[in-house]
């Protein structure tokens, strides 16, 4: 199963700094769908992106169990 890292408001929405999915996701689009379905608060954010192995990923990017996956809510550094 895939485990995703959570940051910022994503951590608060889920209630933890990592989340292990309870059903498989094939790609980034499915992961976003999974997150928005289980945690409706994600749908209210200005944006929601997924990083795969430290790089911003497209919806079609395939997710493997060994990838490092992170949920990237709207950034606000600086």
């Amino acid at each position: 199963m895939v485990t995703v890292k959570l940051f910022g408001i994503a951590k608060e929405i889920v209630g933890g700094s990592t989340l292990t999915l309870d059903s498989p996701v094939a790609n980034v689009e499915e992961l976003l769908h999974y997150l928005r379905e289980r945690y409706p608060e994600f749908a209210k954010l200005t944006s929601l992106l997924i990083a795969v192995n430290d790089e911003y990923a497209r919806p079609a990017t395939v997710i493997h169990d060994t990838d490092e996956i992170a949920v990237i809510p709207p950034v606000s550094g600086g």
Binding site: F7, I9, T46, D54, I72, P73, V75, S76, G77, G78
Partner: protein, 140 residues
Amino acid sequence: MAKPLVHITAEPIIPQEVIDLVRADAAGALNVFIGTVRNSTQNKAVVKLVFEAYERMAIKEMQKIIDRARERWPVTAMAIHHRVGELGIGDLPVVIAVSTPHRQQGFAACQYAIDTLKETVPIWKKEIFADGEQWVSAHP
């Protein structure tokens, strides 16, 4: 020991140290942008800020900013330091320093760096008020 050009740290950032990292004999200009924690936002008093980073990816994205700035301007050297953790009023979340042969290039590269950092680098800021808190930019 000199700090790296791209750095995320829980310690206070000292602008002079970042400036010294980019000083170079071939440069005629050195531009610096320093973000500072304001005492208010949208007319609301700020108590403190909390910064959180996806550090490994943030370092990569900060390095990309330097690489892309180099493609666009004759950058002699650029350093980007960002702080994480709890920051009080007047503390410095970010310091960017860039040296270039001429000053116009430096202004352009420095502005590009901070504008892009705020768009692409996975760092998050939470504003703490007396009566609540919010993750900046999270909601429309």
